[in-house]
Amino acid sequence: MEPREQAFLEYVQGGGQVESGDWMPDDYRAKLIKFIEMHGNSELMGVLPEREWILRAPTLQRKLALTAKVQDEVGHAQLIYRVVEDLGKPREQCLEDLISGRAKFHNVFHYPTKTWGDVGVIAWLVDAAAIISQKALLKCSYAPYARIMKKICWEESFHILHGRDVVLTLMNGSDAQRELVQEALDRWWGPLMQFHGNPIRAEEDPMYVWRIKSQGNEDARQQFLDGYVPQIWELGLTVPDANLRKDEKTGVWHYTEPDWDELRSVVTGHGPRSQERLDFRRLARENSAWVRQTVLAEAA
């Protein structure tokens, strides 16, 4: 490593932050783009599992809340792609790479949303898992990304409240409504346990080495379990993992090893809804290509 790069590494590892105009190693820039772009893609693809249910929301209040939540996700994508744009990759290129399958998005957005129970579980627990990762990004070594994370975390915390309220209302309802939640939890537990990634040692994770991430994968998963499993139990739900327990002495949660092969397969575009969702986005983009051309011609 060149001395300049070594000094940069030590700077970020010591808690230093970098602005968009500052010098940065090419490897750091490339890793930032990859990481932040995947975050933007995830916000955008995360719209699709929920948008189907915007039309089916069962009360006016739920309709407004879900529409606002999904709108927030699009707004996050817009902000995040702007950060990527500053680093040198235009939004249009990100969108092209997304629909062509070259770029990735988070595992949880490759799965179907089968019932209104899923809508509650996604907003509560998927957003809870996401906010744990995002809160850790408040300390990201790249300052522009860390700054937008404040707004994003603030909004995500409302999504969790909305999701918890949907779940709580269903759990206080009929047997069939409670069953909707339990079935959804059974479906989402596997993907949720995979969400924070395999338990690679933080020091071996290049995203941690550059302090793009400020915590290891397993730390994030432990935080999730510690924050949410007690709440899940309190509501009378069963977590579909017989081995799940907290060691009260060490404070560490034990669980059945998540299916890492499934995670790899899903994030490389082989999930149950991966291709359908990408096709949907591709088609929407083709249908509206003439609009972008018209607007850009007018702007030119």
Partner: protein, 214 residues
């Protein structure tokens, strides 16, 4: 003269159904900025519908949710213009948006002139948000006005747009958008699209007996 609550339900149903339709653009608009814009417009419209339903619900001894979601498709009073499923056709979506906002402006102005104080106040409040919808619609009109597909969309939807306002306001609407007054597609001519939308928008709610909490 129709009863006041029938007139309010017409407006509320228009706003509800158009809000539901506009929310279909969430995630797939031509620009991320338009995703966000259409989502905001949809939320405003549904908020307006809720405020109007609440006024009617007080009179009828029911709730806004029951009015919005527990009636049969044939009981809705919305205009065919707002029922159409136009998602993935941006030209028609903008044509409807522009025509509807013009019609709604004229309708709200008439309510503000009317004698009912509560209603005039609510109309003024709604109009404060609608002003931004009109700015958005006008911006898109300016961008697309020379596109043949947009002009065709406006031609096609114009008779339905006239049906949004009462007959005595139609000349005013025609003058506002600069088109000749033609026979209108009236409110009682529901489209198949309404039935499909109703099936979807009430499916979760219908899965439990009336009165269930969601």
């Amino acid at each position: 003269m129709r009863h006041l609550h029938e007139r309010l339900l017409e407006i509320a149903d228009d706003e509800l159904v158009l809000g539901w339709r506009n929310s279909e653009w969430t995630g797939i608009a031509p620009f991320l900025e338009e995703d966000v814009a259409f989502s905001s417009i949809a939320q405003n419209e549904i908020g307006h519908a809720r405020a109007l339903y609440q006024l009617v619900a007080r009179e009828l001894g029911t709730t806004a949710d029951e009015l919005a979601l527990d009636r049969q498709p044939g009981e809705y009073r919305c205009a065919p213009l707002v029922e159409l499923r136009l998602v993935d056709d941006w030209a028609k979506t903008i044509a409807r948006h522009w025509l509807y906002e013009a019609a709604d402006w004229i309708r709200l102005a008439a309510l503000r002139r009317g004698g009912d104080e509560d209603l005039a106040g609510l109309a003024a409040k709604i109009d404060r948000e609608e002003a931004y919808h009109r700015m958005h619609a006008d911006m898109w009109f300016a961008r697309l006005r020379d596109e043949a597909r947009f002009q065709e969309a406006v031609d096609e939807l114009w008779p339905s747009a006239l049906g949004v306002v009462d007959p005595e306001l139609r000349a005013e609407l025609a003058a506002l958008v600069g088109r000749p007054e033609v026979p209108a597609v009236e409110r009682d001519a529901h489209t198949d699209a309404l039935r499909e939308l109703w099936d979807e928008m009430t499916m979760v709610r219908r899965s439990e007996p009336a009165g269930a909490q969601w």
